[in-house]
Symmetry: C2
DNA sequence: CTCTGTGCAAAGCGTTTGCAAACGA
DNA sequence: TCGTTTGCAAACGCTTTGCACAGAG
């Protein structure tokens, strides 16, 4: 709990129980949409407001402490910033899994074929997770 | 114009001037968000309704005639379905460019590292286009 | 003590829906 | 002619805003 507090401070975010809880839930669940976060936080803070979730998530995204992932055919989810990775999204159960991929092959193809300078990559692979296939 | 009509018929979409215009604009502009489409169609049909744009775009996405691309930090855009490709998004001017990439390396990495079965890939590369860099 | 965050209610905005009239096949 | 589409207005749902009070530093 204390470590989350320090983490928040590093990102210039004041430490409040609600914020600590958001980080904790995201840490435990990996990827959550606004509604999932709200439901989980309601269990801890029965009078928490959706507005608080939005304000904090937005603040955390701005401070580049969270990242926003727009999933095809699903709600946008949020996750703690970590080293670059792709997302595997199961079309059956909706589960989202991280996977560290080497995207240098892709980036190289781009530099060979076009004059575009790639700064960041967003790779989402849809299909079936091992449970659903 | 007639070819668009036939194209629509192939996808079980009745041919209306508004639909033909949507296809025509997307063909000419490549990627457009709802608002851009609406503005362009207004020039052709001064009394067209936003609801018509939404209904048609949604119908076309359902018939898998258009595809929806969720861009990080920008509005969702629509494009005519074509062979698989990635998107290059310029952070400066917002321009979106298609690029055909061989994603077999990525898919292979996934199958080696996880038990996930990949059905489709969504690759969005952000950076600077040749004009902006 | 001061400034920021929280919770509530209201406002805002993009998207969808219901319906009568117009249109396509 | 019959079923679908259009355009309008209203409804809807998600997100943001304003404000008074509470809490963090």
């Amino acid at each position: 709990m204390l470590s989350y507090a320090n983490l928040l401070k590093e990102y210039d975010l004041k430490v409040t129980p609600q914020r600590v809880a958001i980080v904790d839930e995201l840490y435990k669940n990996g990827h959550m949409n606004i509604d999932e976060l709200y439901r989980k936080l309601l269990e801890r803070f029965p009078s928490i407001s959706l507005a608080t979730i939005y304000k904090n998530v937005n603040a955390m995204v701005e401070k580049i402490f969270l990242s926003e992932v727009k999933i095809p055919n699903a709600k946008t989810v949020y996750e703690l910033i970590k080293t670059e990775h792709a997302h595997l999204v199961c079309n059956e159960c909706g589960f989202i899994e991280d996977i560290v991929l080497d995207s240098s092959d892709i980036v190289e193809q781009v530099s060979k074929t076009s004059k575009f300078k790639v700064d960041s990559t967003e790779i989402i692979l849809s299909g079936l997770c091992h449970k659903c296939k």
